[in-house]
């Protein structure tokens, strides 16, 4: 038995909590449900931290290289003598990091929700769903088998569906949850076919064996999958490309991102957990998990790079124009995941050139903290002000000092200002991009500047802009549990950058020397500062001195107009081009072709039945005709056309 056998408790505890809460929560446990959820997650998080400590510091490393440890393996289903489906636990640097992130953020969200969801009628069910999600996500990251990951992948999708639609009396929540489910399911079918292709050619579903067989040049599986082609691309490209579609769907990459902004209909702590820190990075995790295979196929890596880079820039531009606090954050999530994606895309396997991989994982790590902090802060604001439109918000800094300060730290982190965590991880990514592709680097720096701009636009609009006179003196800044989580996460956000991730998580397991190049850092930081400066200039005092801006700073006023123009442009793109260009033809197709076909069929049937009305039955002859027609068609096809 492996010494890491206990790791199985990490996902199992939330599962137990889900079962208990799901079965008895509503009737018997009620308000203590939250406490039960928090306790199970707390133990789970402690175990994860212990695992990480043990893995990174004690026995994870052999000869200076971090090992892949199979903590548990159980053959669950022997599909055929060659292929078996296992349930197992795979420990390697990324899965260990992920369990820490998932269990920790989930714990924070559990605690935060104690205050946020207080008084909610379906409190117990909410915690049951949270536990289910945490279980699925932990199972996903620990999977040792590509089929196992797929099962948990779907479970994560289902729990996300349940949580987005938590307020199911609200029609827009129902629509949003359906949209998320169907869009990601659509992408998952790509994933499924990708799995089938990879499994068929490698003859295994086990990650370790699959990676080994497909990357060993000269092995029969390697030759098979490279030599088989379909529509001009090798089966490896197809398999990985399809798997990437699955990842892109979950990670809301362009053009499969459309579900993410709508998913904000769910309770805000849920957005913090699922749609910011954990589930949406599953796609990045998947690519990282199969990275040795991805790294030998440059075509797919190019796709990953460009999809990631485009999503990053696209989402950043859109985020500048949004007025819903959660939607700004949603697009910023999409943009940051784009960073992680293209960072993987520009990376190579092993050594110094694997910096992109390290940077991506590092960014995943820091992003989890600052983005969940931002979402929880937004949750506190919404809880306090009962609106999520930033045009109605402002001047909250004195009323919500804790939220204000933690939000500021998170904004500085995401903008990449040293010494906050985001700076370090973004630095690695920019460095990797710089050494690989200058165009990607340019996009990345531009996106960073935009990120700083829109985050501070959000920050000033919510916390500055105008002074609010308190109507109700008793209005408190959230409960203790809410403030506590904000403080903890703010501390993590401030210091997570000093965690030596690059010496732990690398593409080949060998530690990488961490190096911050001060000269290199100057330009991106300056760009970020410019973004912040611009935001300060525009939004800090917008409402107090609007006429001064208009008259004295005429050029800036026009710039503000240009921002407005981007807004319009975005609206133009969605309303005019996407709706007219894609939506309308699809609707037209449905209305004229599908409907027409059905109606045609119906009228034809009706006509024929009208002709033969005198007989006893209207349609049976018709059926026989089709039946016979089918036989004739098959016979002609197979005997005369295909010549069997």
């Amino acid at each position: 038995m492996s010494p890491y056998f206990f790791v199985m408790l990490v996902p199992l505890l939330p599962l137990v909590s889900f079962c208990i809460l799901g079965l008895f929560g509503r009737k018997y446990i009620k308000t203590t449900s939250g406490t039960l959820g928090v306790i199970s997650l707390f133990i789970s998080a402690l175990l994860s931290l212990y695992t990480a400590y043990r893995y990174f510091f004690i026995d994870g490393k052999v000869n200076g290289i971090y090992q892949h440890i199979i903590a548990l393996k159980y053959t669950w289903l022997q599909f055929s003598p060659r292929v078996s489906i296992d349930m197992g636990i795979l420990l390697d640097p990324i899965s260990v990091m992920m369990i820490v992130i998932v269990s920790f953020i989930s714990l924070m969200v559990h605690i935060f929700s104690l205050g946020y969801m207080k008084g909610e009628e379906r409190f117990a069910i909410y915690y049951a769903f949270l536990s289910l999600f945490t279980f699925s996500m932990l199972g996903l990251v620990l999977s040792s088998n590509i089929f196992q990951i797929y099962i948990f992948w779907e479970l994560v999708g289902i729990s996300s569906f349940l949580l987005i639609g938590f307020y199911f009396e609200n029609p827009s929540a129902v629509t949003a949850s359906n949209k998320a489910f169907i869009v990601t399911r659509f992408a998952d079918f790509g994933f499924l076919i990708g799995i089938l292709i990879l499994a068929f050619y490698s003859g295994t579903l086990d990650f370790g064996t699959l990676i080994e067989r497909l990357t060993t040049a000269g092995s029969s599986q390697y030759i098979d999958i490279h030599s088989a082609t379909f529509l001009g691309a090798s089966m490896l490209t197809w398999g990985l490309g399809l798997v990437f579609i699955g990842g892109a769907g979950k990670s809301a990459m362009f053009p499969l991102h459309i579900w993410l902004p709508d998913a904000m209909e769910g309770p805000t702590p849920v957005s913090a957990l699922i749609h910011a820190a954990t589930m949406v990075v599953a796609g990045v995790f998947l690519v990282a998990r199969l990275f040795p295979v991805f790294s030998i196929d440059l075509t797919v890596l190019q796709i990953v790079t460009w999809v990631g880079a485009f999503s990053a820039l696209f989402a950043a531009v859109v985020a500048c124009t949004q007025t819903d606090i959660k939607r700004v954050l949603a697009f910023s999530t999409m943009s940051q995941i784009g960073f992680m994606m293209f960072s993987l895309g520009v990376s190579k396997y092993g050594g110094e050139s694997g910096l992109g991989y390290t940077g991506s994982m590092f960014h995943l790590f820091t992003h989890a903290f600052f983005k969940s902090l931002l979402f929880l802060g937004a949750g506190a604001v919404i809880h306090f002000a009962h609106t999520n439109d930033i045009r109605d918000l402002g001047g909250l800094r004195k009323l919500m000092p804790v939220t204000h300060l933690s939000f500021l730290i998170a904004c500085l982190a995401i903008a990449g200002i040293p010494p906050f965590s985001g700076f370090f991880s973004k630095e690695d990514i920019l460095m990797a991009a710089y050494h690989s592709d200058k165009i990607i680097y340019a996009i990345a720096v531009l996106t960073s500047a935009l990120t700083a701009f829109y985050m501070f636009r959000l920050y000033y609009s919510v916390f500055w802009k105008r002074d609010i006179h308190l109507h109700d003196k008793n209005h408190e800044e959230g409960t203790l549990s809410m403030r506590l989580t904000l403080v903890i996460l703010a501390v993590c956000t401030a210091f997570a950058g000093f965690v030596p991730v690059s010496s732990w998580i690398t593409s080949d397991g060998a530690p990488l020397e961490s190096h911050i190049d001060i000269v290199f850092s100057v330009f991106p930081v300056l760009m970020a500062l410019t973004g912040i400066g611009l935001a300060t200039y525009l939004y800090k005092t917008e409402n107090r001195r609007p006429q001064i801006i208009t008259s004295a700073f005429g050029s800036l006023y026009r710039a503000a107009y240009r921002k407005f123009y981007i807004d319009e442009l975005y609206l133009f793109i969605t309303r005019k081009i996407i709706f007219n260009g894609i939506g309308r033809p699809a609707a037209w197709f449905d209305k004229n072709i599908v409907d027409g076909f059905m109606n045609g069929l119906a009228t034809t049937t009706a006509k024929i039945s009208g002709l033969i009305k005198g007989l006893q039955s209207g349609k049976v002859q018709n059926y026989a005709l089709y039946f016979f027609g089918g036989i004739i068609a098959l016979a002609v096809l197979f005997i005369y056309v295909l010549n069997y």
């Binding site: 053959t75 089938l196 036989i631």
Partner: protein, 470 residues
Amino acid sequence: MGIDFLILMKQEWMVIAILLILLFIKVSSDDWQNENILKLVNILLLINLITGFFGYRDGILFNEMFKTNHLIVTEKNILSLGTFIVSLQSYAWLRNNKLVLEFYLLLLSTLLGMFYMISAGNLLMFYLGLELSSIPLAALANFDLEKRKSGEAAFKFIISSAFASGLLLFGISLVYGTTGTLTLSALSDHLDGSSLQIFAFILLISGFGFKISTVPFHLWTADVYEGSPVTVTSYFSVISKGSVLFVFVTVLYTAFKSYAITWNHILFILSVLTMVIGNLFAIRQNNIKRFLAFSSISQVGFILIGMSGQSQAGTASVVYFILIYTFSNLGAFGVISLVSAYTGRENLEDYKGFYKTNPRLSWVLAISLFSLAGIPPTAGFFGKFFLLMAGAGQGNYLLITIAALNMVVSLYYYLKIIKVIFMDSNENPIKRLLTPSSPKLALIICTTGIILTGFVGYIYEYIFSMSTIF
């Protein structure tokens, strides 16, 4: 010989014994209460199911007219299980029906026919079994005697069935004419691939295609399913279809093995047509029975993918999927038949707000629909995945892509029903139903089956170990 005669045909003897008992009751006295008859029948069917699990033997009888092996016994057990569930579910509908004994006599005759059909080692025997299983079915379709639609369904079924049987028989006679044998095991040596044989083979496939309702041989399905009593519809869509699928896969994999390339292509065409058309029509149905009819048509399209796998996993995944399909479809039909028996409402609109009044039945229906849609962790997901995986063994990715797209489409309409049940409100919802104990037992069996069949890996491995090596 004597003892073999008893043991190898034990499942058939069991059904015959039950038939005789029921006949005896029918002839002897009139004072049996319906309640008691139903109880007795259910106990007998349970005994039939349990005895099926004992005394597995492989063997051949009557010059290979009748053959049996582990897989065949298991297939018969699946059918017995399905029949048992159907019988439990029919309680609400039958308890006030005067003709309850006739119903069971007919039902069990069809089951006997299916057993002989599955065990057939000869095309003639297969044909006899097929007819024995379909003619009483027509009478069953007509069992709602006062409803005009029910009679119409029976009529349409018997006419279409006769037509299909005629062509099937024509195919069989052509096979006999060109090869000189009808024994399945000997057939493969005599096939030479002449055009006439291919034509005969296509006729045979169309006969199978009719029974499992693949497009374009499916047209009878919707009308017959809609017109028949719900219990009979579920029997049609699960047991009758399942039995023919069992035979279909065996016949293709043994007798027509040398035609593998041909039937692989035929299955490709039929599968695509069946999935696409089944789905397109399912989207537009407002009658929930008709909806399930079309959705079950498209399910067969998926089964054909697994069948095209040409491997041990091909057979195994088909049998495994049918087991899961039995649970899922009967689970869905169980709820619908209850609602139909108590309220007579069968439209999708009627199910608005169903969750508010009948939360438990709603969950059973939802789990069954999830399983039919292939969403994990329900068993339907594993079933579909294995079918696709078996199909992928032939490298037919185009087919699998089409299948995956169809799964998205089907997901859409299954979710639509779930939305109607859980989220839509209704001023006049279906009233709260008290589920009698036997339908309740049936629903419990189905739900447990849907959850466990996927997770207990042993079930698939067991089926796999018995499947014929291609």
